[in-house]
Structure formats: structure tokens, C-alpha cells
Symmetry: C2
Subunit: 282 residues, 2 copies
């Protein structure tokens, strides 16, 4: 039998992944969860039919969502992750020895499945520097009294449980729970296929924070490659790298370098036009 996972990116564009097998499937209270073994990209976490993480290329997304903000802040200690229950972002944060992590994931089943079936990323969740809160991230940032140096919004697409994580009200709460020199990063989808979303997030962040910038990478297993992160900061500018990032030769990165950090903020014209609210490329 040939087994293919058919992922519907848009009504007219699909990606098909040949599978060796499905390893685990579950209908959680929030979404349909699956762990599969792909032929070309290793094991993968799939939520509501959308591939979230593949072991072979997840390093690109997770290094870029993590190290850009953590090397922008000169001394990040308290880091909050919203979403990211698979553990890969936490694994990257823990490479910075001074950090402690609070992870707020709405779906405990993602955490459990990743621990059990994706230990390469899930085992970071068992580190003693990590506190796990199973809760709605929107509710958490509205209610908590704790303050953070860096907040990473490692969400799924803006449908289903993650929708509110792209709202202005949520970003205002994130601003509130950041220290006076804190900063946040959110994954903000494709600049080709989600340009209204990206433009809206950028405008909201620009109104709430003194400084906001978008940076880019290319994530093979997400729709059409190009992917944006939106960084908003109370004080530090990501284009001014902090000195500790100058020598990373001993850190086990496969994507990130200080030069890659800087280059990621250089936007092609069509992306800048999306942010400017003008006519975009598609």
C-alpha cells in the first residue's frame, strides 16, 4: 500500500508527503493530532492536517524564532513561550545558559505526544529550567503577574485554537507582561499567501511597541517556503546585535549565524510593500 499525506495549503495547492507509516493519531479536545514517519523529511507532527514540524528541517524555523530575539536582548533570563508544545523552541532557548522558560501550551496532548514520539525535540520539555503551564496563552498573558524578558509566540496557523494569538488585544497583553526592556517575536506566516494577516500584525505591533521589525527565512516544509517572523521591542533593536552573539562557534547551530541574523531583516521589495500597506506581489 502507498500511503500519502495530502496537505491542503490553499484550495488550489497541495503538498503530498509519502509516509512510511502513521505512528500515532488522536482527536484531542482542540485538534486532530498525528505523528507520522515521512520518507523524505523524517518524523513529523501534524495538527488538523497541517504539517507543523518535520525533524529534518525544523532546525531552520526553531533557530530563527529563538536566537534572533535571544541575541537581541543582552541578558535574557525569563522567557515565555506561547504554544510550542512540541518542545523544539524550548530546546533552542535552553542553549542560552542563563535562561528559564515558561511554556504555555493549550493542548496537553501535543506535549505528551512530542515527549513520547519525537524525543529529539520533546525531551527538552523535561529540563528542570522549564515550567509547563497547560492553558490558553491568551488567558495566561491577561492574568499573570510575572514579567518576562522575551516572549516567543510559536503558534500554529491563524485558524482553530491559534486565531486569537494574532489579535491586537493579545499583543497589548504581551506588552504588559514584558519587562521594560523586553521584546517579543511571533511567527507570522507567509508573505505571499497571508499578506493581509502580516500587514495587520505589523501595523498593530508598530502601534503598541516603540520598535517593530519583520524578518524572513525560508522553511521548506511550510507553504511556499518564504516565512515571516515579526519582532516587537520596548528597547533593543535587533539590528544591533549584543556582544555575546559575536562568538558562537561552540554553539550547535545549523542555520543561525550573526550574519544570518542581520541578513534576515533585509526584505525584498514585495515584502516591504506588504508592510507598507501598498500593492503587493500577489
Amino acid at each position: 500500500m502507498e500511503l500519502w499525506l495530502v496537505e491542503q495549503h490553499t484550495p488550489g495547492y497541495r503538498v503530498n508527503w509519502k509516509l512510511k507509516r502513521t505512528i500515532y493519531t488522536e482527536k484531542t479536545p482542540y485538534q486532530e493530532l498525528a505523528i507520522v514517519e515521512t520518507v523524505d523529511f523524517g518524523r513529523a507532527l501534524v495538527l488538523d492536517g497541517i504539517v507543523q514540524v518535520t525533524l529534518d528541517d525544523e532546525f531552520i524555523y526553531h533557530e530563527m524564532i529563538t536566537h534572533v530575539p535571544l541575541f537581541t536582548h543582552p541578558n535574557p533570563k525569563d522567557v515565555l513561550v506561547i504554544g510550542g508544545g512540541d518542545g523544539a523552541t524550548v530546546r533552542e532557548i535552553l542553549k542560552h545558559p542563563q535562561t528559564n522558560v515558561d511554556l504555555v501550551e493549550i493542548d496537553e496532548r501535543v506535549i505528551n505526544a512530542s515527549r513520547q514520539y519525537l524525543p529529539e525535540i520533546g525531551k527538552a520539555l523535561d529540563d528542570p529550567r522549564v515550567r509547563i503551564v497547560v492553558d490558553d496563552g491568551i488567558k495566561y498573558v491577561k492574568q499573570t503577574d510575572k514579567k518576562y524578558d522575551v516572549i516567543l509566540i510559536d503558534s500554529s496557523d491563524p485558524i482553530g485554537p491559534a486565531t486569537g494569538l494574532f489579535s491586537r488585544e493579545f499583543y497589548q497583553d504581551v506588552y504588559r507582561v514584558l519587562n521594560d526592556d523586553g521584546l517579543m517575536v511571533a511567527q507570522t506566516e507567509s508573505p505571499l499567501f497571508n499578506k493581509e494577516l502580516l500587514a495587520g500584525v505589523y501595523q498593530n505591533l508598530s502601534e503598541i511597541f516603540p520598535l517593530s521589525r519583520v524578518y524572513l527565512t525560508c522553511i521548506p516544509t511550510y507553504i511556499a517556503g518564504f516565512w515571516t517572523f515579526s519582532l516587537a521591542s520596548k528597547k533593543y533593536d535587533p539590528l544591533q546585535l549584543n556582544p555575546s552573539s559575536k562568538d558562537l562557534s561552540d554553539m550547535a547551530f545549523r542555520y543561525y549565524t550573526p550574519a544570518v541574523h542581520q541578513a534576515a531583516f533585509v526584505l525584498p521589495r514585495f515584502v516591504q510593500e506588504v508592510l507598507d500597506g501598498g500593492k503587493s506581489a500577489r
Copy 2:
């Protein structure tokens, strides 16, 4: 009836494009040619089942293969394109007013189909500054006495008619037909899925030319986004932009800027490792 073009990228990874219709199909002496109307990316040229050009995102590939070398050379006049029979690279070259173009395309049917069905790119082929040679590019650079300032190798994948365009012998002939301050760029595939090819090309170019560099972009409609170009030069370094490129505000670019030019040469660690011949990411 639902019509889907199924593009096989690897044995375990396929992309499906929903089509409004097929516009034209032909078995040429070299390959199976099709022009189709996609739902999400506009009209597309398909060769042997692989999507070569979609009108909605072709600007990324064609601006990057063209303007990086043409703004590296301070005064490019004679430009040779190997392949590129669709006309899009020629269209970009002609934005530089001092240029004349020789296009050497092996398959005349590609030229004709693009002129007829993709006029947005094909009409550039009728410009009086363009000379079209229907011939094998490998044979052409072996035999011609003409010299060029810039040579662009705008080939399809290294299977079928384009295989020889990735060989050391071909690059030696390209070196011969370049002026003493000339330079070349070749599209060199994905750094994830074709890393042996990329490493081999880079090594060959480094041995033949005094200077060679790889640059990156993200092309949504090619396999897994990340795409490499390999630039090899007798004199000029692409990191030293020539002064005429400083003010491009009036040129109709949707992707290229001088900052994008510089940033494209900043390579993630895993790509640098491919070039260094070390262990790579996949």
C-alpha cells in the same frame, strides 16, 4: 472535472497544482512541453512535468539570476543567456539600457510557446537588442569566437537536455568566452535536495575562476523553496556593488534591492557546510 497537475519533486514529495485548464501541450524533440493555467499562481510553463515558470512568482528567480551579476559588473554590454527560452531572464536584462543579449536555447518550441502563450515574459524575445540562436549551449560556448561580459546559465534541472550545463568542461568553455573582466551565474538547484550537485559545481567553479560565491533566494514554486545561484568571476566581486546600482528607485523591481543583493550572499551554516564539503543538514 477537477484537474490537478501532479509534480513529482522526489519519490516521496509531490506538489499538486489545481488547474483551470491546460492551454497547450506538445512533445518537442527534447521534452514534453505544456502551458497551463493554475488557480493560485497564474499561467505556467511545464517541461517534462516540472513547473519551470509561474507568472505570479517568476519575478523572484528572474530578478535574482539577472540583477546580481549585472549590478556586479560595472558596465555589462554583451550578455549571453544559455537556456532561458521563455524570455523572462531576457526581459530583466533589457532593463539595463546598455545591454545586448544573445540567447542560446536548444528547444525552439519553448521560445515559440512562450511568445504565443506567455507574452508577459515571451515578448522580450522580440526586442531588437536580442539575438536568438537555436542551438545546444554546450556546443555554442565551445565554438563561438564572440566574447561576453556576463553569461547567465538559466537551465532546467540537471536531467534531460540540461545535464551537460552543470559539467566542469562546460564551465571551462564559459570561462574562455568571457571577457577578461567577465562573470557568470548559474542556477544550481536546492541546497537541501541537490547538495552533491551544488558542492560539485562550487568546487569546479572555484578551481576555474579566481572568485566564486553562492547566493540564495527562496522560490515558492521550486522544490522546497530554498534555491541557489552560483556566481563565478574573473575580476569583480559581487559583494562590491558597482555605483550605478545605488539608485534603483525608478527601475521596476519587485524583489531586488542593493541590500537584498548583499544579503543573498549570507549563507546559513548548513549551506556553508555543503560548500565546504562537510556534513550537511540532510
